[in-house]
Every structure is written in C-alpha cells, then in structure tokens.
C-alpha cells in the first residue's frame, strides 16, 4: 500500500507572470487532489489559468516571466516543488506525461515520429535504440495507428492531425505514467476525430489505469471523461465537485452560467436566446477586488467586491464552492430561478 491518499495533491499553488506591462496572477492559490486512476476535468475559459496549473505541476513554467511563488505539489506523497531539476526530469515523461492541444506544432518537424517517441523510452527505460523502436511500434499499434512499422519512419508533416495526436498519446503513454495531463487534447480536431481520440483515451485509461487531468473548455468532453470537475475563473478555483454534482446542481453562478450558455444538441429550441454571462473576462493585469467574478455576477452582494470568498467545502462531501452567496445562504437552486 502506498503511504499517500492522493496521487496528486496540490495545495495553494500560486503561479504569477511578471511581464513588462505588469503582473498576471495566472494561478492564485489553487488546490486540487486526484486519486490514482481518477480523472479530473479542469474547465474554464481562455486565460482562466487551467493550462498554467497543469504546466506548473510539470514544473514547465518558463521562468522568467513566470514563477511558481508558493504552494506545494505532492505527487505520490513527495513535494515536486522541492525536487532538484534532475529528479524532476525523471518524473517528466516517466511518471507524469503530458499531451498538448496543437498536434500540428507539438511534434518537431525535423525528426521522424519514431525517433521522437523512442527518445522518451530510451531516456526513462534505458532500452537500446532498436528495442525502443520495437516498443514504439507496439505503442503505435496500441493507439490505433495503422501500418505502425512504416509510420515510425514518417515525419510529422506526413501525418494527419488525428494521427499526430495519436502519436502524442503514444509518446505520453510509452513509459506507463501514473498521471497523464491532457491539455485541450481534442480542441484542434474535427468532431468525428475528436470522438475517436476520446474513445481511445477512455479505452487506454481502462487498460492502463492512470489518473488523468483533463484540461478543456469543452463541457461535453469533461462530462464524458471526468469523475471530478474543477471550474476555474480568472486564476481562481470557483467550484470543485463531482461531475454529476456540477452538471446537475451547479453552485457557483459562473459554473451555472457556463453550463447554460452553451448551445446544446439535447435541449433548447431554435431561435431561443441562450442564457448569458454578461460582460467580459477581466483584464489579467488588473483583476477586480474581492470575488473576481463579481462584475459579471447577477447575484452580486455588497461584500463581493470587498472580500474574496474562500473556497468552502460542503460538509460530508468532496464538494467546495468559492461564493459569498453560497457561504451566506447555503445551497442554491439556480435551475428553478431560470435566469442569471
């Protein structure tokens, strides 16, 4: 039995960017926990800090301008932020692997895909070049790349977007990671290809049993893949709950707004206006005081622009919400109110 409860336990992570134009609090005291084999969906709009959170876990933040200011990232009970760079490198690509949004640009154009995938295998498993290539072929077959023996000698530009993403997945899974971080893995793909990749990820997860952090803006994708969901807004966690709870009874006005402003196939009539969240995402250099969502919030109270709402847990559950409305009045039923 391992001596940790959570595979990943991030506490109060703070990653800021210091640019010429000012300071961006990209990730501001974010905490999250994942058990082995579990999938966490991280949801939010562009600039909410979801990608920076995942890159921080990998310690891949470019410094400067970025800097992990404080917090702890426990992985298998050890704090990654205290590890020397060398040890961190052993974890990257080994125990924690990552796939990215743009399969077009995420592979080096001047090396064959076989070479690029085998690199990680040679590094982390100490196989010879030849054995590593055999392993690559095996991995390519696993991720459903047809004609795998020939494909290892292909250059990225010779493959389609879907194929490249399969290569990325093969690369990530080649060293049997305990945690896979998938940063918008299907955003750049067509719907039918997205369906293929999601299916593949589900299948491989069942087979290999790794935990997944799935970063995406697509609520449908997390609904399908994740057990738990973390909603982020402007660098903050606003709500953290099981997928079912989030989708059935969202507690933060932003989660609710996000859910109901998406036009869906399974409900809503033609020409019927959508619910909207008014206004725009705040300027990252100049975040609003108090709750960062308050300028756009329909339920704004006096306290909202003065004090930041703490992330408050609901008793006897894994669920927590950062909203004054919730703290003051308890559980909300936005659905019956119908407007936001």
């Amino acid at each position: 039995m391992p001596e940790y409860d959570y595979l990943v336990d991030v506490r109060n992570l703070k990653t800021f960017f210091y640019t010429e134009d000012g300071v961006v609090p990209a990730v501001d005291r974010v905490s999250l926990r994942i058990k082995s084999g579990e999938t966490l969906g991280v949801v939010g709009e562009s600039g909410c800090g979801k990608s920076v959170t995942s890159l921080s876990i990998m310690r891949l933040i470019q410094e400067p301008p970025g800097k992990i200011l404080e917090g702890e990232i426990f992985f298998k009970g050890e704090n990654l932020l205290l590890k020397p760079e060398e040890e961190m490198r052993k974890i990257r690509g080994g125990d924690i692997a990552m796939i990215f949004q743009e399969p077009m640009t995420s592979l080096n154009p001047v090396y064959t895909v076989g070479d690029q995938v085998s690199e990680a295998i040679i590094l982390h498993q100490g196989l010879s070049k030849k054995d590593a290539i055999d392993k690559v072929v095996q991995m390519f077959k696993l991720v459903g790349i047809s004609d795998a023996e020939r494909r290892v000698n292909s250059y990225p530009h010779q493959l389609s977007g879907g194929m490249r993403q399969r290569v990325m997945i093969a690369m990530a899974l080649s060293c049997s990671p305990d945690l896979l971080i998938a940063d918008e893995p299907t955003t750049a793909l067509d719907v039918t290809i997205q369906a293929q990749i999601l299916e593949l990820m589900k299948e491989l997860k069942g087979r290999l049993g790794m935990a997944i952090i799935l970063v995406t803006h697509n609520l449908g994708v997390v609904a399908e893949m994740a057990q738990n969901i973390m909603v982020m807004y402007a660098g903050k966690v606003v709500e953290y709950a099981s997928a079912r709870d989030i989708f059935k009874t969202p507690q933060h006005p932003y989660s609710y707004g996000l859910l109901y402003s998406v036009p869906r196939l399974d409900r809503g009539k033609s020409k019927e206006p959508l619910l909207t969240i008014e206004g725009i995402v705040p300027n990252p250099y100049n975040m609003p005081p108090g709750c960062r969502f308050h300028p756009r919030c329909k339920f704004r109270m006096d306290i909202c622009d003065k004090e930041e709402p703490p992330l408050t847990a609901i008793e006897n559950s894994e669920r927590s919400v950062a909203c004054w409305l919730f703290i003051r009045r308890g559980k909300q039923d936005f659905l019956s109110e119908g407007v936001i």
Binding site: S46, L219, G220, R244, L259, S261, D266
Partner: protein, 324 residues
C-alpha cells in the same frame, strides 16, 4: 413576410483550386473544395452549413459573395445571376449581401477607427454623408450592443467579443438583406459566444435578415438556424429543416456527426458511432459516394461506384445516400 420566396439559389456550384507542381509547374491536381453543390435559401431563413475541415463550407460562403470566383455553376440572388455579371455591375449589388468573419482579430483593419470602418461602406455606396453618416454609425453601434463613443476607438482597444460586434455592425452598415456568417462565434470563449449568438438571433428577427450560417459546432447551428445542410468533402450530404435534421437524421454521416458531439450531461449515455479513419483529402476524394470509405452501411459495387444524388426523400428533407 413571404416565407416561401427564394432569395438565394445555388445550382451545381464547383470550385477547384489548382495545385501546381512537377518540372514545369503545371497544374497537377485540384483541391476539389466545392464539388457540385445546389441549394436554396428562402427570404428570412437562416440556413446552417455544417461540416468538418475540408468540407468546403467556407468556400461556398465566399463564392456566394463572389469573393472567390466559382469554377462552374450558377448563383442567383433575388433573381439576378451574379456569376456572370461584370465586377462593375456586381459592386452595387454588394449593398445587399454582406459577410461576418470568424477571426475577431484579423477581420478589423488595425489602422482604422471603428467609426471609419463603419462609415466606409456608406461612403462607397453613397448611402450617407456627414452628420447623417455619424448618426447611422451611432445607431449601428447601439444596435450591436456597443456605445456611440466607441466610434473613435481602434480595434486593439476592444476584447474579442466586442470586436465581433464591430464586425457585425460593419456587415449591417448597408442594411443588407442577406448575410454570410462564416464561423462567427467559433473563435470566442463560451460565455462570449452566447452573447453573440443571442445578438444574431435578435438581429435576424428584428431586421428580417436572411443568413447563410457556416459553422462546425452543431449546437450553435441548432440554436441559430431554420434549415441545415451538412457538407462532406465538397458535397451536401443532407439538407433538411432544423428539427428534422437534428431529430431524425437520415444520412449515415449526419448520424455519426451528431453522435460524435459530446453532451455536457454525465447521465446521458448514447450509442456513439465512431467513424473509422481520417477525412480523405479533397485533392483525391473517393469515387462514388465520398463518404463510403468511412460508412458502416457501405455496399460494395454501389456506393464506391455511383455518386448518390441529393433527393427529396421526405418533404423538405433531402439526402444524398443510396440506402435511404
């Protein structure tokens, strides 16, 4: 409002983009972006054109406004054949048909103020001058949910959603009857997307606009459009009223496409059709029915040989499939 009056009619539209190569740089192949497309749009209707990358939906939109010259085919707008008329005769017609673009950053000239951008079409067509023009600019800005004083600002001072509103205002500046909206919300964040969709829905009913709404997001199309046409590799596979297409899709591709869209509800478990392989290249599309290489119901000797015609299998429900 005469709902049945046809405003735009497209007949057998083709657009091939040549690829040069070889020793002498001759045309060695064609990207068959649009490969024989026909449809009509009625007055006041919003037709949604959906498809994945390489389906040719964007090319259709551009060709309709003759921003791209068609290779072959006929497009009539309000009874006027616009494929054969000269550029000079086309220019006054541009008043009636406009376009909204996808990219809120690339679609506004960074060196022009919003006011200059909105005033420009009025100047070109001599619609309004001086005071009158300024008033119209203010009205337009308010119509799309911006404020009059924004006329003095440059695009870089706006957020993506606001820029998209400017783009919409520019398209509306000449009071057009027909608007091609090319993925107008796909570059926007979810919460901003909803604002723009609502704006477009509102504008359509208020100004009685006719839309060709190009998108790859089926949810958006379902919300926005009266009828929907599904494209695949340069052909229309299915064309029907909104409720029919989303309720009872008949073409196997449409069925797969709809089932591929993830639904944000963990309780909904659907039978998902996973298509095999990639979308073939439009340079060298499969013979016969272009979808046959990925189709589960494919019948050898029929689907890979004979091109299926787009037929009306039910009233106002057209499908191009041998098996329906």
């Amino acid at each position: 409002m005469a709902k049945d009056e046809v405003l735009v009619e497209v007949k057998n539209l083709f657009k091939y983009f040549p690829i040069s190569g070889g020793v002498f740089g001759r045309t060695v192949a064609n990207v068959k972006a649009v490969d024989g497309v026909s449809f009509i749009i009625r007055k006041g209707e919003a037709l949604g054109l959906v498809g994945e990358s390489g389906s040719g939906k964007t090319t259709v939109g551009r060709t309709l406004l003759r921003l791209i010259e068609p290779t072959k085919g006929k497009i009539t707008y309000d009874g006027v054949d616009i494929t054969t008329i000269s550029r000079a005769k086309l220019r006054p017609m541009r008043k009636h048909m406009q376009i909204i673009f996808q990219d809120p950053f690339g679609s506004l000239n960074p060196r022009m103020t919003v006011g200059e951008m909105l005033g420009e079409p009025m100047e070109i067509h001599g619609v309004a001058h001086g005071r009158d023009k300024d008033h119209r600019i203010q009205d337009l800005l308010e119509l799309v949910g911006l404020r009059g004083e924004h006329a003095r600002r440059y695009p870089h001072e706006f957020s993506g959603g606001q820029r998209q509103r400017v783009g919409i205002a520019r398209a509306l500046a000449l009071n057009p009857a027909f608007i091609v909206a090319d993925e107008p919300v796909s570059a926007l964040d979810v919460s901003i997307q909803a604002q723009i969709i609502n704006l477009l829905i509102d504008l359509q009913s208020r100004l009685n606009l006719t839309f060709l709404f190009i998108a790859h997001d089926l949810g958006v199309v379902k919300r926005m459009c009266d009828t929907v046409a599904v494209m695949y590799l340069g052909n229309i596979m299915e064309h029907a009223e909104n409720t029919k297409l989303f309720g009872q899709p008949l073409h196997p591709y449409t069925q797969a496409l709809l089932s591929a869209v993830p639904i944000p509800d963990p309780d909904i478990k659907r039978e998902r059709i996973i298509l095999r392989g990639d979308i073939p290249s439009p340079v060298n599309p499969p013979p016969g029915c272009k979808f046959h290489t990925r189709c589960q119901n494919f019948i050898s000797g029929l689907c890979d040989v004979k091109i299926p015609e787009l037929r009306e299998v039910r009233p106002l429900h057209l499908v191009a499939c041998h098996l329906v």
